[in-house]
Every structure is written in structure tokens, then in C-alpha cells.
Subunit: 409 residues, 2 copies
């Protein structure tokens, strides 16, 4: 049994035109117009194929093959980072849809649901839809979201969603049979190993923090260098120190300053305030705590050197997740049945699977990313690899159904 | 003879309401709505007082006491930095208007003109109106202005000005008898010396540059630290290096990074591009050249360490100016006649006087800035000091008229 590759390709390419950028990527920030258009397209395609569809209280969009039994979820997300690539998330959603199409005539013991989760990337909150579904969504995350409270409220309104109802998307774990996600690797390991398929062992945890440095604005010509309380300078020193700290003391981790803003931001005014947007990742929960503490020390040291105040606020917090051994075996068996080479590897990127792993047996299938590049327009996975991933998703689904029938029914 | 202090105070306070900010300052970026409203207010006040008014091709606004003779210009500017203070520029314009009012019944050998110069602060170009008047405005400055080409064109359109006609504002030096500008010091020296009046000896030159670092964007989770080409990190290192360089090797200079922008600017994307907006100042032309060269070396070094490209573009360039000894003497004599203590000092800030000094005898009168603070809402000069400055401007005007009558007529 195989996915209809040509039909899937047409769908994938049509989707890549929604929010397309001149450089060949897509820009579909969460709950923006392009993202909502992509979600509408997904439901339209599912309905055109004659599938049932649903949208839950967190805005997760699904196509369903219903049976009287628990649901095996297959999915990913259709939002992207600003000016991102066309494969990240989108491949997993389109492949899930085409697994349902391939299996629509097959009698299965599990309901299948191809799901597009809301706000995976964290333009607004991060893992919003998957955490709402698993019951992990915290009110705190909504009060001070990574993308700012205003952007969140505007996005929810555009999507017709209600903040207080998001948690209604929660599903009882007993209704779920598992979760499978196909995704591009976004790193170079599969390509370097010459492997077709990656079987994800664990997903890194990450934290996002905003550091605000408060100094004293002033005239850039008349304020002597030695009396300045330059918030921009302290923030820049903190960025340099962050990098040195992680490289030196946290070799398994990554830390990134993705954005900085100076206030008031003129040529001839000493910055009185500076904001640093930072995130870091590790597969070890204790290392996340240690790194956060070390970064807070560095921020205070940089602030003190320039007689400034500083505060750091956590605006995103996702735990590391180990993926389910039985589901990993099912993926390995699926790849082997298709004569595809597979290796196990951890994920350095966060995924909806991270939220699902807390409540239901969860596995992830990676396919190679050319040059390991992602989150930019040049992100690319060969179509052969995309299709290999979709077929592995199909056969892992069949394997989980077989195991369920043997053990569960 | 004295300025009518109460009438001047009413005008000054009315002006401070235009573009007023909640913190007590003003925000009147050049050719924005609030700035245009302030300029319209100035002409209306002059007309209400029965003075002649004019607007030239560069948008400079003037009130005039005409006679058949060359013109002594008195002025400053009504634009402010974003979220700036109410004294910077505005004091000099209002005082100039009130000098004309004080002298309207006096027979003088020189025409007097109270002038509000366009775009002193450099939100758009910097010294735009005064350089147009003196013939120093370069087409290059308009093609790549500090505030961006779009903002310039939008501002000109809002003001009803035409780029190609700006240079028509030039006046033949023979038509000018001199220029006097009253301004707040924007530094702490007068306050520390306990002096009423500062007589400016020279004005610093300055340069503004934009440095663009070009790296490689990528996923913040999956890209190992050691293969990153993080433009934000290199830019931050350059900011730190800039400060160290100036403090160590250029003790008479100041350098400021007023703004930084990262692209694309998300939490989870390595910045592929970073822009640093920088300016530096010196009273020595050769030091400006040396510092620019040293900064370019630092930028290249920071870029090379992270395998990036970098380019630095000059977006503003103002020469240092020595002020006229005869005009300085006239100011000293005016202050003495009012029993005000005066000291000589250089200006660390740029001023329209810098442009005027190239073509006509020019002097500047400073009054104390509380705490040396400027370019922010807490900028403050006591009203007594403001009035002392206005009366010094009045008597320096009389002294220059006396000298002209003796020597020139």
C-alpha cells in the first residue's frame, strides 16, 4: 500500500502558494491572514475528498476517518515563522491527510484524524493548539505570551477564537490511541548519515525569556562616555556573554538572541532601554534550570557594569519529552517494510509531539533537510524524501492499528 | 532694555503643548504632524504680533523686521527627537521672536529675522534647512538620508516642499550680517561652574553610519553553536568593541549606537541580518576620519570572526565649526551688561550655527541644562535661565547692530 504521490504533490504545491514569499518560502505567522487561508484550504481539500472535518475550541483543524474506537492522531502545523520555509509543518499535515485518503477503504480499529495544530511556531504562544488538546495550556502562557498580549488577542479575534474557551479543546487521554508526526529534520544529521528516515528518540525542551535593561536616555553628543547608563551597550554585552557562556559551559545546549530593540532608537540618543529576546534549549530539564540561572547572572553582571536595572521574564517554557518506545518500533518496522534506511536521533527543534507525548503514545518521523537548513526560504527536502516520509507515516499507522487490534481490542 | 518675560513665557508654554508627551516633553520629529503644527503656530504668533513672515524653499519659517540692509539671523529649530524635551531648539526660536518684539520700535541698521530651521535634529537628514540656506546641502545627503529615503519624501510631501527646490533657499552671504542662536547647553558644564551664560567657542563635527551585517538565518534549535553565522551576535560584539575603542583610543570623542535591528527578529530564528545605527563626534576633523577608519576595522573584524559580510555607509556628515571671535565678544559684552556670569565652552551637540558659521559671523549662547540632561522628557532649564538667555540674545543683537553701524555703514 502506498500514498498517491502525484495527488499529494499537487496538494503540497498548492499549499506552498499560500503566503508564498518571493524567495520561495512562505510567511504564515500564526493566525495571520495567510495562515488562516492555509487552514481554510486544508479543510476545503479534506471536504473535496469527501472526508469529515472539525475545528475545536483551540482552532485545531482536522479531517477525520471515524470509527467506534479511540483516535490515532496524525498531524503537524500550517503556521510558519516570518519568512520561513514551505516544508516545516506543512509536510506533516498534507501527508496526514493523504494517509487518510490511502486508508479510507480499509477497515481499521482506530479512528484516524489528520490534525493541523494552532500556533506551533510560537509567533504568539507556541504549541498553543497541542497543549490545549492535551490539557497542558497554562493561563500564565496566555497572560504574557512570547509574541505579546496584543498580537495574541488580535490573532484569536481574526480566527474567531475565544481565550476563555481554548481549554475546552482538551480531550480525555482515554479517547486517544496515539500521535504520529511526520516532519522535516531541520538539521543536517540524516543527510550526513545518508539515511532516509529519522526516528525521533526525544525532543528538546526550551525556554524563551525577555530581558529588559533599564538605563538612562540622553544626548549622544553631550553626555561623556564615562557617565553614560547606556542600556543598548549593556544589552549588547549580554548577548556576547550569552554566547560565550553556552559555548563554554553548556556544550549540549543552544542559545539564541533572535531580536533586540532599543528605545527610543535614534542615531543621536543614548538608548535608555533595551529589550533582548532570547531562547535556549536542552534535552535535560536540570540543564534548562541551570542555564536560566546562569543567564540571569550574566544579565545582572552586564547591568551592574553600566549602572542599570534589568529584569528577565520567562515568556515560553516547554519541557523536554522522550518519545514512546513502542511507537518508535512501529516506525522502524514501517521504514524497514519500505526498504528505507532509518536512524534514531533526538530533535533539536520543538514540536507538537512534545505536548502529545505527555498524554498518549507518541512518535515522530523525520525526513532529511538539505544542508540542515530550516526556518528560512531556502529550506528544502527532496520530493522523494517527502514521499518516503509519507509512506512511512502510512505504514506506521497500519502497524499501530495492527498492534491495537492484537493487544487492545 | 529687556524682553517681556511674561509674554515670552506664555508663548513658550503654549508651544510646549504642541506634540506634548505624558512625561512632560515633546515629540515633534521633523516634518511630522506635531512639528508642522508647531511651525504653523510660530507663524501665527508672529502675524498676531504684526510681524512680517516668510517661508523659504527649504521650509525655514521666519518672522522679519525689515530694513534696507543685510540681515542678522536669530534662530534655532522647532523639531525634536522622538520623545524629546521642550527646550531643545524651541527656546531659541521663541527668544528670537521676542527679541524682534522688543526691538520693533528701535531704529536698526540691520534687518532682523527670527528663523525656525527645518530638520535640525536629523530625524530625516539633519541641518537640512540651515545647510540649504548656506548652500551646503548635498544631493548625496538627500539620496541616502539618515532617517531613510521614504521618511524624507513623505515628510517633504506633508510639508508641501519639493526636493529639487530645497537648494533655492540659498542666500548670498553678502545679504547676511551674522547669525546668533540661543540654545540650552544639553550638558552639565554651566551648572557645575555656576555660570549663567555659555559662550560657545566651537561645535563638534559628527558622522552617522549604518553598518549592515549579513549572516545566515536558521533554526535556533537545530543549528549547532559552532556552525552559526549569527549576524546579531557579530553586531552585538561590534557594539561592545565600538565603546571600548572610543574610551581607550579616542578620549576626546563620543560614539553612540542608538539603534539595532535584527532580521527576521523572532525568538526561534538565528538573525540572518543585523543593522547598527551609530554616530560619533569630535571637534577635530582628522579625528573624525581616524575614528571612522578604526570603526570600519572593528566591524570587519567582528564580521570575520563569525564568517559574515559587513558594509558601513555614511548617512550623515557634519564638519566641526569654530565660532566667530567678534560675535563671541559681543555675547560676552551683552552678558556683562546684564550682570550675568559667562564662561566659554565648546558644544558637544550639533546645531544650525554649525552650518551658518561657514558663511557668516556666527555665535551661540548657551543656558544651563539641569543635570546636563537633554533629548529626553526630563530635559529642563529654569525659567530664569531661559530669560537670562533671551536678554543676552537681545543685547548681543544690539551690540552687533552697534558694531555694524560703527564699522559697516
Amino acid at each position: 500500500m502506498r500514498i498517491d504521490g502525484e495527488r499529494m504533490r499537487q496538494d503540497f504545491e498548492a499549499l506552498a502558494m499560500i503566503g508564498a514569499t518571493p524567495e520561495g518560502g512562505v510567511s504564515r505567522p500564526s493566525l495571520g491572514e495567510a495562515h488562516l487561508a492555509a487552514r481554510a484550504w486544508f479543510l476545503e481539500r479534506a471536504e473535496a475528498y469527501g472526508l469529515e472535518t472539525r475545528i475545536d475550541a483551540a482552532g485545531n483543524h482536522s479531517a477525520v476517518l471515524p470509527v467506534d474506537g479511540p483516535t490515532l492522531l496524525l498531524g503537524s502545523h500550517l503556521d510558519s515563522v516570518e519568512n520561513g520555509g514551505r516544508y516545516d509543518g506543512a509536510l506533516g499535515v498534507v501527508a496526514a491527510l493523504h494517509v487518510l485518503l490511502a486508508l479510507r477503504e480499509t477497515q481499521l480499529p482506530l479512528a484516524l484524524e489528520a490534525i493541523d495544530f494552532t500556533d506551533e511556531e510560537g509567533t504568539l504562544v507556541g504549541l498553543l493548539g497541542s497543549e490545549a488538546l492535551t490539557g497542558a495550556l497554562r493561563a500564565e502562557a496566555l497572560r504574557a505570551p512570547r509574541g505579546g498580549r496584543t498580537a495574541l488577542l488580535e490573532g484569536l479575534e481574526r480566527a474567531g477564537l475565544h481565550e476563555e474557551r481554548l481549554v475546552d479543546a482538551r480531550r480525555a487521554p482515554a479517547t486517544l490511541a496515539g500521535y504520529l508526526e511526520l516532519h522535516i529534520e531541520q538539521g543536517p544529521r540524516l543527510e550526513r548519515a545518508g539515511a532516509h528516515i529519522g526516528i525521533v528518540t526525544a525532543i528538546v525542551g526550551s525556554r524563551s525569556l525577555v530581558f529588559d535593561f533599564h538605563g538612562l536616555s540622553g544626548h549622544a553628543g553631550t553626555t561623556p562616555m564615562n557617565v553614560r547608563r547606556d542600556a543598548g551597550l549593556a544589552a549588547a554585552a549580554f548577548v556576547v556573554a550569552t554566547n560565550a557562556l553556552v559555548v563554554r559551559d553548556f556544550p549540549g545546549c543552544v542559545a539564541t538572541v533572535g531580536d533586540m530593540r532599543f528605545e527610543p532608537g535614534g542615531f543621536n540618543v543614548i538608548p535608555g532601554a533595551a529589550r533582548v529576546s532570547l531562547e535556549f534549549r536542552s534535552t535535560e530539564p536540570t540543564q534548562l534550570d541551570e542555564l536560566e540561572a546562569a543567564l540571569r547572572r550574566e544579565a545582572r553582571a552586564a547591568a551592574e557594569r553600566h549602572a542599570l536595572g534589568v529584569e528577565g521574564v520567562v515568556v515560553g517554557r516547554w519541557k523536554p519529552a522522550a518519545l514512546h518506545p513502542g511507537v518508535r518500533e512501529a516506525i522502524a518496522s514501517a521504514a524497514a517494510s519500505l526498504d528505507l534506511t532509518a536512524i534514531e536521533l533526538p530533535s533539536g527543534a520543538g514540536h507538537d509531539a512534545q505536548a502529545l507525548a505527555a498524554v498518549t503514545p507518541t512518535g515522530m518521523i523525520f525526513v532529511p533537510s538539505a544542508g540542515g537548513i530550516s526556518h528560512q526560504p531556502s529550506e528544502r527536502t527532496s520530493w522523494e524524501d517527502c514521499l518516503n516520509g509519507a509512506n512511512t507515516l502510512l505504514h506506521a499507522t497500519l502497524e499501530l492499528c495492527r498492534l491495537y487490534a492484537v493487544r487492545g481490542a
